[in-house]
Symmetry: C2
Subunit: 136 residues, 2 copies
């Protein structure tokens, strides 16, 4: 099948430096962090304001794309599970999906809560959360 | 910034052939469709069962990656909005995010409800929905 090229639109700036520092999910204690967007994407980002809820898509660049099954949350007591039924960062296309709250906006820099990615992780897309039709 | 290569893990089989046929969101009347995964990813998909709720990530391959602002839902009465605050398929990295219900599983073919992508659209990842910590 054809392949496609992902071009990062920014990077995460976080105090989390490696996987052993990271909580398993952002709402389990990740420190606030910054999404530093490339100024080239200022127009795409111009309507993001403090208080917004956003979905952030990242490219988890320090993962193993050949893994197809894992024990969820690394728990040896849980059965090995196909990665498409888990949120393992090790997966064929290592795209992270994070729901965050925007705390502050400074140009193309977004301070956010609820994102557990490692420092330097590429950001590839931002979207509004999935919601009811009436909210769109 | 470094670029990354997305390798599709399957394709959508749908009766929707072009953008003018597609509803704006899957829960506005998309026909049921099939996610035909490459058998190479059978292990990653092996725990997906009928009844599961899934997030499906697609690569929207018939879109314009240079668009940074749109009028939401194509409505000329709505102000132009930066694409990171919209679900426009035209965006720098054209990744579609769809919440679906699995109706049936036949090997690596998943019949799903709630997905509005065009026939042939590449599928790049499947994940469980974002939920409460207790559900993980």
């Amino acid at each position: 099948m054809a392949e496609y090229v992902v071009r990062p639109v920014g990077r995460i700036e976080s105090s989390l430096r490696n996987r052993s520092d990271a909580p398993n999910q952002g709402d389990e204690g990740a420190p606030d962090c910054t999404i530093a967007l490339d100024p080239e994407y200022a127009t795409a980002a111009r309507d993001i304001a403090a208080g917004a809820e956003l979905l952030v898509l990242t490219w988890l660049d320090r993962t193993d794309r050949d893994v197809q099954a894992v024990r969820p949350r690394g728990d040896p007591d849980r059965p090995e599970t196909g990665v498409f039924s888990t949120r393992s960062p090790d997966r064929p296309n290592p795209i992270g999906l994070h729901r965050v709250t925007v705390l502050a906006v400074d140009g193309t820099r977004l301070l956010v809560r609820g994102l557990e990615a490692l420092d330097g992780t590429p950001v590839i897309d931002l979207k509004p959360p999935l919601g009811a039709v009436s909210e769109r």
